[in-house]
Symmetry: C4
Subunit: 215 residues, 4 copies
């Protein structure tokens, strides 16, 4: 038997309960969100500062606090939307588990570009990589969404879905990449766009009545 | 459709089960509480100390141990009271999820001002920022409390609530900010107040019989 | 009303479900156990080592690996025994929650004395402090045990308890403190005792048939 | 009574529910997977880089990103297979808890060899130790598997098991150790094998129909 022969076949198998997938995902979201504070350890502080010197050093570290805050809000946004995605699914097959794991891998990466952006707030590459990472995260999220809609969604939940939800979700990657591009014009533009993008996803998009706000 | 048009409208939607909100919150509380020990890594120790030298270095690091201890107790206090808050709510809407997330953001920040206070125990700004952070945390907690009381509380739980609970909760911010102010007189006063404040919240305030201790 | 007046009265109140106490505790156990690996980051390695140089540096770091291993086993031991303790309790009051939180505080401290013992394996104070920390942890665990037996245990579970269980539990602190004392004679004696002590607690002591191994 | 007398006897006792074992395991998997990103902090970056300099520094850190990615996928693979293992078991005895804890100990070690391999990608010992660690993890996993099959599996689940599953699982250690050996020929060979090995375990092996892929 060639063990790799039926690799993709195997991914369509499996009927896993969602409990431990939620537990593993929530664990990674929570740890990633909390590890962001470790980035603030990189703030360089004088050895025996007066209050004034300490205050100045902290004010100079404003980009690091901003990066931390933007990142936390984005991770919380992904957590909230992920929550709804798993609620949409009735079970999981191995393909869904692996798309979810690759998504979580890039979610756990978030503290790295956050630190980079905080430390080099005037370097367009550092600021841009933050946007690229978030775009990759959103694209993986959309992939997970598409997979669930196609293969593991509960029929009664599918009926409530906005048929345009996947198309609307591309607002995320486009917005993050626009921010990444504008970082080369002025970093403040990128910070602004990174801050505004999660507002669009403040609630999950996949509910039909989202398309009819008057309802 | 203007995607931001109905932003605040959307926040009032949603009927989320509390399970994953608890899991995410407990994860952040647990990681934040445990990461506090990483602050003790900043203790500067000699390279090849004799027992006496090591002992002296550890005694000199007493403010760091005190900061760690005070912080852990405060995080545990927030966890306990948060536990009760979610128990009071019957479900969550998106507004509640986001107030909770912003509260958790500042909860996950706690290791930073703790490290600052531990490293610069004689710097009134460092010691004061600890109190300010805790006041912000408590105000966000009160905001979450008020939101739940108004929108998502279970009726049978509401009946057990002390009507003055929100007013009493302001003891927290006032006390932490008093400590932050007194740090400019003498840091030891601030440490004392930070240590005493959680005692007031050692049990949740929101039970009616709290107002009638003789019952 | 004097807010501190009824402090101890309030601790006897409360009828909390055990679910979130388990979640918070398991989170702290898991994070503390996993953070231990961060102590191995302190191993000093050459910049561009040959395999031989790297091998020598890792062999020289043997005490750090030993400390990590002993600590992980001890945390796992506490987790297993804590598991049974909560199973013994039917509910929690605020006193139990706070004894548990203080116990978890010292559990989350474990990475610090572990790093100290790993870095200064020939310093009797460093090696001794590890034993003292573990003794404090065990004493707090015994306190939690006694509290549950007295106030919150389920009657049907109480009947299965070994009446001598609290007395037997003192083997732990005595053994850890003996190790801490012997660190001043030779550190290897302390390492040996720290390694052997958890074997006594490899299964919870609180089951009556533990006293009758022939059963 | 000799407390160690009945050590192995005691390990066969116990009838523990699986809930908290899952919670502790998922916590360690999630924290270990997320801590891997801390290894990327070791990337040495210039102080005030131009975008070009920063880009070059990040490209030079490619082995660290590769190590992080391979490690995350391997931890996710262990998590998925562990999930199924606990699903196979109906309950746990103390022996199973301890084999599981020792397995989790080496799982929590993963960030260390990952950092080593990322920092010294041309050092065969550093690259080889990664494979050895993964082989040890897989052997412990096989031990846990064998123990569950023999002692705690649910009969209805046992019937679905491939009788050759344990033998097939040895593909893992053999493959990781082959990679570790080939690291001495060329590190790229080891990276390739470490990357390919998890593909074999992309779905659990223990389902009978795995042996009959045409089904």
């Amino acid at each position: 038997m060639n063990p790799f022969q039926n690799l993709f076949f195997r991914l369509k198998e499996g009927n896993l309960p969602l409990g431990r997938i939620e537990a593993f995902s929530d664990g990674i979201f929570a740890v990633a969100a909390t590890l962001l504070v470790m980035d603030l350890k990189d703030i360089s502080l004088p050895a025996h500062p007066t209050p004034l010197e300490l205050g100045r050093a902290l004010v100079a570290a404003l980009p690091q606090f901003l990066s931390w805050m933007i990142s936390f809000v984005i991770v919380a946004k992904f957590w909230l939307n992920h929550h709804h995605l798993l609620h949409l699914a009735g079970h999981a097959d191995y393909g869904m588990v692996w798309i979810n794991s690759i998504f979580l891998m890039f979610q756990s990466l978030v503290p790295f570009p956050t630190a980079l952006m905080g430390q080099y707030p005037n370097n367009p590459l550092a600021v841009g990589l933050f946007g690229v990472t978030m775009a990759v995260n959103t694209i993986l999220f959309i992939g997970l969404y598409a997979y669930i809609l196609k293969r593991t969604a509960r029929p009664e939940m599918l009926a409530l879905e906005d048929p345009l939800v996947l198309r609307k979700s591309w607002v995320g990657p486009v917005s993050y990449l626009t921010g990444a591009g504008l970082a080369w014009v002025h970093p403040a533009l990128a910070f602004g766009i990174y801050f505004a993008t999660p507002l669009f996803f403040i609630t999950p998009l996949h509910r039909k009545h989202m398309a009819r706000p008057g309802r």
